[in-house]
């Protein structure tokens, strides 16, 4: 059985992070297994955690009244989920659901928030990592928006 600090160390999200910071963060983390179909987060509920996915697939969803859950993106081994714990009002903006058995490290956001405030150097290190994830997701979302495999592209030269 690997220790929490070791598990974090191996996760790409924390690559290159200082030992002492990792040791601290490890203190805020616990292993957790979600069963297929179980919600990891629900829209508008308090966002007290973030998750490092070690195994399994997580669907980021939005509930549409006359349709049901619409999957916007799936996350996998090596991905992280959740940054709502960083920003007030600390509420989830989407649902996250385990699509199969998901092994995750659940990190206590409240504990990390307080530590980040107290230790700006660590806070900055963590924030840089989140910023990178957010930009990656934004890029992916923009590509999704482009719908590149669609045929429905209006020609550039029409109506000129």
């Amino acid at each position: 059985m690997k220790g929490m600090a070791q598990l974090l160390h191996e996760h790409p999200f924390f690559a290159g992070m200082q030992e002492k910071h990792l040791d601290f963060i490890a203190g805020c983390g616990e292993n957790h297994i979600y069963n297929t179909g179980e919600y990891i987060a629900r829209e508008n509920e308090p966002a007290d955690h973030f998750f490092l996915i070690r195994d399994g697939q997580v669907a980021v969803e939005c509930f549409v009244p006359n349709y049901g859950a619409l999957c916007l993106q799936t996350l996998h081994n090596g991905d992280i989920f959740g940054w709502s714990w960083l920003f007030p009002p600390y509420m989830w903006t989407f649902d996250a659901r385990a699509e199969d058995e998901v092994h995750a490290i659940r990190l206590d956001g409240k504990c990390l928030r307080e530590k980040c405030e107290a230790d700006p150097a660590m806070g900055y290190e963590l924030m840089k990592r989140f910023a990178r994830i957010v930009t990656q997701r934004l890029r992916a979302t923009r590509m999704q928006l482009m719908d590149v495999y669609s045929l429905q592209w209006p020609p550039l030269d029409r109506g000129q």
Binding site: Y67, G68, Q73, T74, H76, G78, R139, Q144, V148, Y149
Partner: protein, 272 residues
């Protein structure tokens, strides 16, 4: 150069608006051999010709297999054809994938949407153990689950190839979809790719290829190890009509497959 008449021997609808034809030379002659990545000009009676790459196996040497998407007059006319109907064929044309350079290497096949069609002959070759690749990975992105090309074959391919499939969108029609949702660059980004001894073949919409190339370069893959298949307006297919010019290249005879290292400056120019 006039088209040779081929007979439609088999027709499969892949999904709405996209279908695959197997074309046999009517006299029972063997059609000219092709290399994966090459294309034919298909002539629909009276409406024009379209360049379509071969998507079948080299071992099926009695026929050409083409996967076609309905998008213009000629492809719509072809779409109305059935088994037994006749179609004009000129080809094969162009330069295909550099299969003679992959021995001992890991091959990344990165396809988007219909871009899997010109790569399927490569996949068949590799499944049959030809060309001596060390390992093969397929990254395939499609618009939505019901528009995944050749999906029924994936299970068989998975014996020899690591397959990652992702769709941009999964809506109510595809409720049963349990796979990845998100763009193709995401799994590519997450994959461990060794910068040495890897070769990447890309085919898909130009934007998709651009972003994938960006990801590959970030991972240290040299430009010389990235190959892509370009789409331009091929009309004569013989380098004589001028339509498919792309910088100094004629896509029909110098391509459609190019090494990114040799075309980078053209690839990054807009409206070229």
């Amino acid at each position: 150069m006039i088209p040779t008449l081929f007979r439609i021997d088999e027709r499969n609808d892949e999904f709405e608006g996209t279908f695959t034809l197997r074309l046999c030379a009517p006299t029972g002659n063997r059609p000219a051999a092709f290399s994966p990545g090459q294309f034919n000009m298909l002539y629909a009676f009276g409406t024009g010709e379209v360049p379509i790459s071969m998507s079948g196996s080299l071992d099926d040497d009695d026929a050409y297999v083409h996967t076609i998407r309905c998008q213009g007059l000629a492809t719509r006319t072809i779409e109305r054809l059935n088994k037994g109907d006749v179609i004009g064929v000129r080809g094969p044309f162009g330069r295909g994938w550099p299969l003679d350079t992959i021995a001992g290497k890991e091959v990344l096949i990165i396809a988007g949407g219909l871009g899997l069609a010109p790569l399927r002959p490569v996949i068949y070759q590799l499944l049959n153990g030809h060309h001596g690749a060390r390992r093969v990975r397929l990254f395939y992105g499609a618009r939505r689950p019901r528009e995944l090309l050749y999906y029924r074959e994936f299970e068989r391919w998975a014996d020899a190839i690591d397959i990652t499939v992702t769709v941009d969108h999964a809506d109510h029609v595809d409720r049963a979809w349990k796979g990845r949702v998100g763009v193709i660059t995401e799994p590519l980004e997450a994959a461990r790719i060794s910068s040495a001894g890897t070769i990447a073949f890309l085919c898909g919409p130009e934007v998709m290829m651009r972003f994938c190339i960006h990801t590959l370069l970030k991972k240290g893959l040299p430009e010389s190890a990235i190959y892509l298949s370009m789409e331009r307006n091929m009309k004569c297919a013989t380098g004589l009509c001028g339509h498919c010019q792309w910088g100094p290249n004629f896509v029909c005879k110098d391509g459609p497959v190019f090494c990114y290292g040799s075309v980078r400056s053209w690839f990054n120019l807009r409206a070229l």
